[in-house]
Amino acid sequence: MTAGGFWNRFLIPGAAWLLLLFLVPLVFVLALSFGYVDDLGRAVYATDFDNYADAFDPTYFPVLLRSVGFALATTVLCLLIGYPVAYYIARFGGRYRNVLIVLLVLPFFVNYLVRTYAWVALLADEGLVNNAIVDLGIVNEPIQMINTPWAVIGGLTYGYLVFMILPVYGSLERLDKSVIEAGKDLYGTRLQTFLHVTLPQTKQGILAGSVLVFLPAVGDFVAAQLLGGPDTYMVGNLIQDQFFAANNWPFGAALTVVMMLFLSIWMIAYLRSAARDVRGAAI
């Protein structure tokens, strides 16, 4: 047995896991998406394309646009909040770096659903925040914070922030400090050095973080369901409703497939960009 053959065996558990728990269910979703619902409400496998025709019904365009819009806003917010945090920890965290990262990650061990519920209690009209600012005389009347698009974007940002911070932190930590010093030696101001040296060097971290935030945010349903208002219905809610309210699993499956294809486009674009950068770095 060659050394390579020996080590390849360690791939078997992972491959089996992916095959059984990812690929097989995916095939079922795909098969189901061509099915229909019988009179008893049971999903039946078939070879209809009706569900796909329905998925492109103009009714759903605003939902898709809204989801992409919310996810983009979330990604930008995560970057604006996450980058400085990662930057500070990577450059000035010193020996507390790992502690700070653990502290950042810790809240994310709590279920996302529960954390989002906590926001409802905090931001409701007679919630802790509104009561506090009314009592302090900052405002006279409570401000409506939840059940707005902003609350949904805020909830998504909070939910996925850590996925931005970690890859950006990784790229900043790997950054050779002497490069920054070189930038300053060449009479670059702090801003110039950041824009022309640090930022380009951490581009892959930013891209990875953006993809990790954007993809789950597009399909999210929890934030809109708990923090949303009358005009915040997202694709995730649409899909969830097909399974648990409309009892139309085949249509839910078709929507899922369409969305996965849509998200794959972004994923492939990211992978190509990453591969190009790696090649560039090698040269």
Partner: protein, 368 residues
């Protein structure tokens, strides 16, 4: 009250749980063990019990005492949505007693998954409200025993909203502008719009549904959102008006400082009534013990204890009086099914095409 927002929390969690059940389950049919099929079930001990119920839906003391009285073990497992329950039953899993809604009783029976039993063999049969005599989902009274029921109406805060008229049009009350919620449930939302427009509650007519869609879009202008989380929305002050189930308002009043401000009305255009039931699946191993257990639950004293524990009205003698006692400060929450007579209505969607039309209509309202 341990069951503050069971439906709401679980609904949100259901999507996450979906992966655990696996999509494959929905059409894979294995050979079902039809042990309870085709024999007369006598209410006598024939083994231990395995109950399949919503979490936190029954006073655990009742299980314990039943077990002690009859010398059996009573175990319980929980589902967090009814689809998951159906999938388990289709795959042949064995339970002795399940808690479906009326619509699911109808569906499960159509699929041949429910055992038939003779309700008159239960000692407490006469305790059951006559409202449940030959309902559409069980014309021969042989598929289920009502466990809890809930009427749909409007809850509001008297310190914020005035001019309530006992009509579904109260949802347009300007006092509640931007602080009113419609239930995030396609049947409840379209249902009240149908009633406003004078249509049959369960109309499958596309033109009528189109009109009701317009009604809902108009209400949406006045709304702050679609939600089934009426307890939290009212308690946290985000809502001053909420289309709501009466049992939830009991929980609201238990959680706020000034319960007298929170009122509930049913509407003159019609009062939708929903029911959860106890049924015996054909896979039951101890259907006889399950019969005894149903009898135990609808016993006047036990049902009263159960109502005190979970806060939901039960349509059986004893429980009725206990619920009236629980809400005596706000008698409008206590809806007498018999007194409703013609205005009590049940949702009935037993046609796949109509259901799709309804859900599409509601999606259009929410997506628009």
């Amino acid at each position: 009250m341990t069951d503050l927002s069971r439906r709401q929390l679980l609904q949100a969690g259901a999507g996450m749980a979906l992966a655990a059940y696996g999509l494959s389950g929905c059409t894979v049919e294995r050979q079902v063990d039809r042990s309870a099929e085709g024999r007369i079930i006598k209410p006598e001990v024939d083994g231990d019990l395995l109950l399949y119920n919503w979490a936190q839906y029954m006073d655990p003391a009742l299980k314990k005492e039943f077990g002690e009285k009859y010398g059996v073990e009573v175990n319980e497992v929980n589902f967090d949505n009814l689809e998951a329950m159906v999938i388990k039953l289709r795959s042949g899993a064995s339970y002795d007693l399940i808690w479906p809604s009326t619509e699911y009783v109808y569906r499960l029976n159509q699929e041949g998954l429910l055992a038939r039993f003779d309700r008159s063999l239960l000692k407490n049969n006469d305790n059951i409200s006559p409202f449940y005599d030959s309902p559409w989902w069980d014309p021969n009274n042989e598929l289920g025993i009502p466990y809890t029921y809930y009427t749909t109406g409007i809850a509001w805060r008297t310190d914020e909203v005035s001019g309530m008229e006992g009509s579904w049009n109260d949802l347009l009350n300007p006092d509640a502008a931007g602080r009113m919620f419609i239930l995030d449930d396609f049947q409840e939302a379209i249902g009240e719009a149908n009633l406003i427009n004078g249509f049959d509650l369960n109309t499958p007519n596309p033109d009528e549904l189109e009109t009701s869609k317009e009604t809902l879009l108009q209400q949406k202008e006045n709304a702050r959102g679609f939600s089934t989380n009426s307890v939290q929305n009212l308690v946290t002050g985000s809502a001053v008006m909420h289309q709501a189930w009466n049992g939830d308002i009991v929980n609201v009043r238990n959680q706020v400082d000034e319960p007298e401000l929170y009122q509930y009305e049913t509407c003159k255009e019609g009062v939708p009534v929903g029911t959860d039931l106890m049924s015996i699946p054909i896979t039951a191993r101890s259907p006889g013990t399950a019969m005894l257990f149903m009898d135990w639950i609808i016993d006047p004293e036990n049902s009263a204890r159960n109502v005190r524990w979970n806060g939901y009205p039960q349509p059986v003698e004893g429980a009725k009086q206990q619920f009236a006692e629980l809400v005596k400060e706000a008698p409008s929450i206590d809806v007498d099914l018999e007194a409703l007579a013609d205005s009590a209505l049940e949702y009935r969607l037993d046609d796949a095409e109509a259901r799709q039309l309804w859900t599409e209509t509601f999606t259009e309202v929410k997506a628009g």
